[in-house]
């Protein structure tokens, strides 16, 4: 028995601080016919390495996330993609936590650095939905079960109705979110949807698909990938650009369907945020967090998450949205990137939220940069609003 076991933990453990030093994403589109799956992930990874001024040999391990393998019809695609990701001779870990997977991917990668197993790790998430069809992948029939009656939007719309009933929100709040996010996307060159002629009136008059959810209030289906390079203090010291520092990260899950489940404000989301804030020393999220990139696949989820995450009191989220506080020039910009409403490669969508939060604190978000961001929240969720992953990043090292 080696001497190491004489040191009896569970004493306090000193984690390595984790920094984001490289971020890359693809140009997202309904169909990226110009690249293979390997080419798609490569585009994001290469941009992240370039941002960090690193090369493949600097990466010690790869964590890869995506939603169901059936979307591309490749089982465990990390096996096939190992070559494109420069992973020969390295560890590759494949994460799948439904829609939250992009966030989980970043957190699993961050833990490899925090535990000092690896110095520098690449986290990458992708979806190439054009290889199949998103609705096919999401609604494969299961024998003996009644057919899924409503499609993706129909799954969420009843929860939106429940939110409106519970809070008394006026019916137009969802359109405000969609208009804001689609306008923000115009400032983001990587966003899938660039609706140059968008007006609030066009959103309000778009077809009512799943009443109360209109067409313009729904997310697209995209091909895309996102990559981040995570490292410790030594790697951060060599970073050519300011790093984003991880101040808190957490995952929480609750069962898919259960007695007492609150679909409007799931407890797993509240608990996950509380854990992140505790780690980061945040007591007043509304006052202390400067920007939030939230996973909003349907417009109304912005006010719902604002409450769930503690930015607004219960029943008050829609007032925050309605006041303009979440606009790019508001005091709590939400989804300056244009969000999931403008770009949705499902498996990558969570990592894009995490990456955009990091871009904001690094001051590298380009045209959609918010001034003076010190702390930003990245948020992802999935399944039947049951899996949550979040991180809070800051412009200074934790405790510094």
């Amino acid at each position: 028995m080696s001497a190491v076991h004489a040191v009896h933990a569970t004493h306090a453990v000193h984690k390595e601080p984790v920094a984001v030093v490289g971020i890359g994403q693809t140009k997202h589109a309904a169909a990226r016919r110009d690249v293979s799956i390997a080419g798609l992930v490569r585009e994001a990874a290469r941009r992240a390495l370039d941002d960090a001024e690193l090369d493949w040999t600097d990466i010690e391990a790869v964590v890869l996330g995506k939603a169901p393998d059936f979307f591309e019809g490749v089982m465990m695609p990390e096996l096939h993609l190992a070559d494109a990701l420069g992973a020969a001779g390295k560890p590759v870990l494949r994460v799948h936590t439904a829609g939250s997977v992009g966030g989980s991917t970043a957190l699993v990668a961050a833990n490899l650095v925090a535990a000092r197993i690896h110095g520098t790790v690449l986290a990458l998430a992708f979806e190439k939905q054009s290889e199949s069809n998103a609705m096919w992948g999401l609604s494969l029939p299961v024998p003996f079960q009644p057919p899924l009656l409503a499609g993706a939007g129909g799954f969420f719309a009843p929860h939106v109705r429940a939110y409106i009933r519970r809070t008394g929100a006026p019916p137009g709040v969802g359109a405000l979110v969609a208009y804001k996010d689609r306008r923000n996307a115009l400032k983001n060159p990587y966003a899938h949807l660039h609706e140059h002629g968008i007006t609030l009136e066009k959103v309000r008059s778009s077809p009512m698909l799943w009443d109360p959810v209109r067409y313009s209030e729904t997310c697209p289906s995209s091909d895309g990938a996102c990559a981040v390079v995570l490292t410790g203090r030594a790697g951060a010291a060599r970073s050519p650009h300011p790093p984003a520092w991880l101040h808190g990260g957490a995952m929480r899950s609750e069962p898919t369907l259960f007695a007492g489940k609150d679909f409007v404000s799931p407890r797993a989301g509240r608990d996950c945020a509380a854990d992140v804030y505790r780690q980061a020393g945040i007591t007043d999220p509304r006052g202390e967090i400067d920007v939030a990139e939230l996973y909003v696949p349907f417009s109304w989820y912005e006010p719902m998450w604002l409450e769930n995450l503690g930015f607004a009191a219960e029943g008050e989220g829609w007032k925050l949205t309605e006041s303009g506080a979440t606009a790019l020039d508001g005091d709590l910009p939400v989804n300056p990137s244009g969000g999931v409403l403008s770009t949705n490669p499902i498996g990558a969508s969570g990592l894009i939220r995490f990456a955009e939060a990091a871009l904001q604190v690094r001051g590298r978000a380009g045209e959609h940069q918010v001034d003076g961001v010190r702390r930003a929240l990245g948020h992802a969720y999935g399944g039947g609003a049951q899996f949550f992953a979040m991180w809070l990043v800051g412009d200074r090292p934790p405790g510094g």
Partner: protein, 318 residues
């Protein structure tokens, strides 16, 4: 600083293991899993949902349904909500993720499980979906064919391939509890301490690899500290005899090492749980006092593309 125990922040052990192979075929995945979770939690003295972290491994392609793991979460008792994750891989990689989580100090205990019903589909077809989607998968070469290519390559290179059965594919579930430091000691009389775990991948295409070698196994074993002292036991995840020959060589197993006393994949191969079971079986040998230093191996992908090695140790006996 990479990969070596000397760098790790705290001691983690396997303190409980349970499995069910070839259960009643009329059960759902969750029904198959539930008694295994109940068993492993009872061994560790944990209530459902009490572990600080939960991580599972499974594959939608085995189940034939997307998001299949979301339903097996029903067996965990995830209320109040739990810190939880899932890998689309063998449960051995879920154990790796949980081990990392415990090393950070954010959790002291973890429940790891894996679950698969490979008999629901035809693995000869299903596993072809792992191969290069443009150049190889359209030909539908099954795992038996790929195993044959590897065995022939070994024979051509002068290796002796002993006759023996391939894997026996069955449904199954397995679960392990990990715990750190004194928590581990409180849960188990003789914890199986994880000296090190590492995993490495190789290029995907069979035609660019030397199929008679497994450099990723060798590297993972080095990084896990396997060669720092002899092991007395090795649980190998080999789905045919040629793979065992290759693994024995890469792991430098001498003739006095007890190799796969559980019977391994030839006895029962519940795909996606098979690797986790190797770790659980090796840990059980240590917990029972039958081993002092054991190696466990798990593999993924065609012809040993991706390999994980864990080295487990019991406390030195007086």
């Amino acid at each position: 600083m990479t990969g070596h125990l000397r760098a790790t922040l705290r001691d983690i052990a396997v303190v409980a293991f349970a499995q069910s192979v070839a259960p009643d075929p009329g059960l759902s995945e969750t029904e198959m899993l539930l008694p295994v979770l109940t068993d492993v939690l009872a061994q560790a003295g944990l209530a459902p949902g009490e572990a600080d972290f939960t991580c599972s491994g499974s594959s939608d392609y085995l189940a034939g349904r997307p998001f299949s793991f979301t339903m097996t979460l029903d067996g965990v008792g995830a209320w109040p909500p739990v810190a939880e994750s899932h890998v689309e891989a063998d449960g051995a990689w879920a154990l790796y993720e949980a081990w990392v989580k415990l090393l950070t100090g954010d959790a002291d205990t973890a429940l790891v499980y894996a679950c698969g019903k490979p008999t629901a589909g035809d693995l000869e077809d299903v596993l072809t979906r792992q191969l290069d989607p443009c150049c190889t998968a359209p030909l539908w070469p099954g795992p038996a064919a790929l195993a044959g290519l590897q065995a022939q390559a070994l024979a051509d290179a002068g290796g002796t391939v002993p006759p023996g059965p391939g894997s026996t594919v069955v449904d199954g579930a397995a679960a392990v509890v990990l715990a750190a430091g004194d928590r581990a000691r409180a849960m188990c009389a003789r914890p199986a301490w994880i000296h090190g775990i590492d995993h490495r991948i190789e290029p995907h295409a069979l035609g660019v690899r030397d199929l008679t070698r497994s450099p990723s196994t060798r590297l993972a074993a080095e990084r896990a500290g396997a060669f720092e002292a002899p092991v007395d036991t090795a649980e190998l995840h080999a789905s045919h005899p040629a793979q065992e020959v290759i693994l024995r060589r890469e792991l430098r197993l001498t003739d006095d090492v007890v190799v796969t006393p559980s019977g391994g994949a030839p006895a029962a191969d519940p795909v996606m749980a098979t690797g986790l079971i190797r770790i659980g079986e090796a840990a059980d040998r240590i917990r029972r006092g039958e081993s002092d230093r054991a190696l466990a191996h798990a593999t993924s992908g065609p012809c040993l593309q991706h390999n994980l090695v864990a080295v487990l140790e019991g406390e030195r006996r007086p």
